[in-house]
């Protein structure tokens, strides 16, 4: 399974792998928001936690359909399904690879973009913490959505339609953590809920996703 993770990482960073696209998208979305709402730092300060979380979520969404679609097209998924490693493990490794190439860069880049939006100082640590805790759930939920739509012709749009409602709790608790951090309130509850969603997703969704993949392969 480690071999699968290594291969996916190698594919992502080589030419045409799409590594960095999500990050660039995150940057652009964050820069566009002030153009839309105006440069007033008072306004930006208030909406910064929400914008950063929505931006991260959309950036994650962007690369979801690649999780399984490429392997489906070139036949690798058939071969992985007949391999001795369980399909649940394949799903989990794919989600980990997606997080390492998409989620982790977002976590690291978020403070820079926070500066652009005048995020209050105490919120930075919570911004990074909440993204670090929450983005794995985004990748795992996304992998489930990708598994549902892998065989479909115009799966990309449908994938967003299916995955975005599933992202609602993660977004609420993630943005709430940062917001409370910015206001100097206690962040324990939303941060723990966020961690709970991530852990539960990682524990249960690989089974649902592997089930969906098996249906799509037959």
């Amino acid at each position: 399974m480690i071999a699968l993770l290594k291969r996916d990482l190698a594919l992502a960073v080589r030419a045409g792998g799409g590594f960095g696209l999500g990050l660039a998208f995150f940057l652009i979305v964050t820069i566009l928001v002030p153009f839309g709402v105006g440069p007033d730092s008072g306004v930006l300060e208030i909406i910064a936690p929400g914008i950063l979380w929505v931006g991260a979520l959309l950036a994650c969404l962007l690369s979801l359909d690649r999780i399984f679609a490429l392997d489906f097209e070139d036949g690798s998924l058939d071969l992985l399904a007949t391999a001795p490693i369980p399909l649940e493990g394949v799903v989990a490794m794919k989600a980990v690879a997606h997080w390492l190439t998409t989620g982790l860069p977002l976590v690291l880049a978020a403070p820079v973009l926070g500066t652009l939006l005048h995020l209050p100082l105490p919120a930075y640590v919570w911004l990074m913490a909440s993204l670090a805790i929450g983005t794995p759930a985004l990748s795992m939920i996304g992998a489930f959505g990708a598994a549902l739509t892998v065989g479909l012709k115009r799966g990309g749009l449908l994938l967003s339609l299916l995955v975005l409602p599933l992202y609602v709790p993660t977004l609420i608790f993630g943005a709430e953590t940062v917001k409370r951090g910015a206001e100097g309130l206690a962040t324990g509850t939303p941060a723990l809920m966020l961690a709970g969603i991530t852990l539960a997703s990682c524990a249960l969704l690989p089974f649902a996703a592997a089930g969906a993949l098996r249906v799509n392969l037959r």
Binding site: I141, L148, T149, G155, L158, L162, P165, P169, I172
Partner: protein, 243 residues
């Protein structure tokens, strides 16, 4: 032996519903009409809300049916995944647009009611928001059914989505309550009116609830019949191509 599962046989289902459905349709229509007429014309105006309060006779039953439909889809999906009865999968498919329509009715009547009462068409109140999220889940579920050509694969995948979606819908509901109280607590909107409801309102409301419940059953049975027929047509077409 007589068992509830015999109705999971498509042929048996068609035979039974063929006999039952017309009577059930008449009954549902009658109960809904009685409930609504009673509610609209034979109840007093509220001393505070005036006649606008009477929209509860549509709003509340529709909202309850909207969530009820999702629970029915969840149960039907589980039955399909475990026992693989086609009627169950098709009933889940049939219930989705009905549930979505009830959700929309709930949202619209809520807005119409909210405008004179709260002075706004829309408020990010937790209950309203979780209904909006439920609406999104319905859209996704229906879109997935439409997108997949192989009927069995579609049934499997939508069932899995329904299971996972139910968990996340429940989480969203919790999250939304948390989110709004965290933002602006002391929201003046409280909708637990059932508890303060006078008998004059609650009796016709119960009739409306039963009527909407029957209406839901009638619509789902009728649509399931359509789905079964559509499925047969597909099979016949496939056979034509083979021959």
């Amino acid at each position: 032996m007589a068992s509830i599962w015999q109705y999971a046989n498509p042929r048996k289902f068609m035979e039974t519903t063929d006999k039952v459905l017309p009577a059930l349709t008449v009954l549902a229509a009658a109960v809904v009409v009685v409930g609504l007429v009673w509610g609209f014309f034979f109840t007093p105006d509220d001393y505070k809300q005036g006649s606008t309060v009477k929209i509860i006779f549509i709003h509340v039953p529709a909202a309850i049916m909207a969530t009820g439909a999702w629970f029915m889809m969840l149960a039907a999906s589980l039955i399909w995944l475990i026992r693989r009865h086609h009627v169950s999968a098709l009933a889940a498919r049939a219930a989705a647009p009905v549930g979505m329509t009830f959700t929309l009715i709930g949202l619209f009547t809520g807005a119409i009611w909210g405008q004179p009462m709260w002075g706004t068409w829309w408020e990010w109140d937790p209950r309203l928001t979780s209904f909006l999220v439920l609406f999104l889940f319905y859209i996704g579920y229906i879109a997935l059914w439409e997108a997949i050509e192989n009927p069995d694969a579609a049934a499997d995948l939508t069932s899995v989505l329904c299971l996972v979606g139910s968990v996340f819908a429940f989480l969203s509901r919790y999250a939304v309550y948390f989110w709004n109280q965290g933002l602006h607590q002391g929201s003046s909107i409280s909708m637990d009116k059932e508890e303060h409801l006078a008998d004059a309102y609650s009796n016709p409301l119960w009739v409306c609830l039963i009527g909407f419940g029957l209406l839901f059953v009638v619509l789902v049975l009728g649509r399931t019949r359509t789905e079964i027929r559509a499925r047969r047509i597909k099979a016949l077409e496939a056979r034509e191509r083979m021959a």
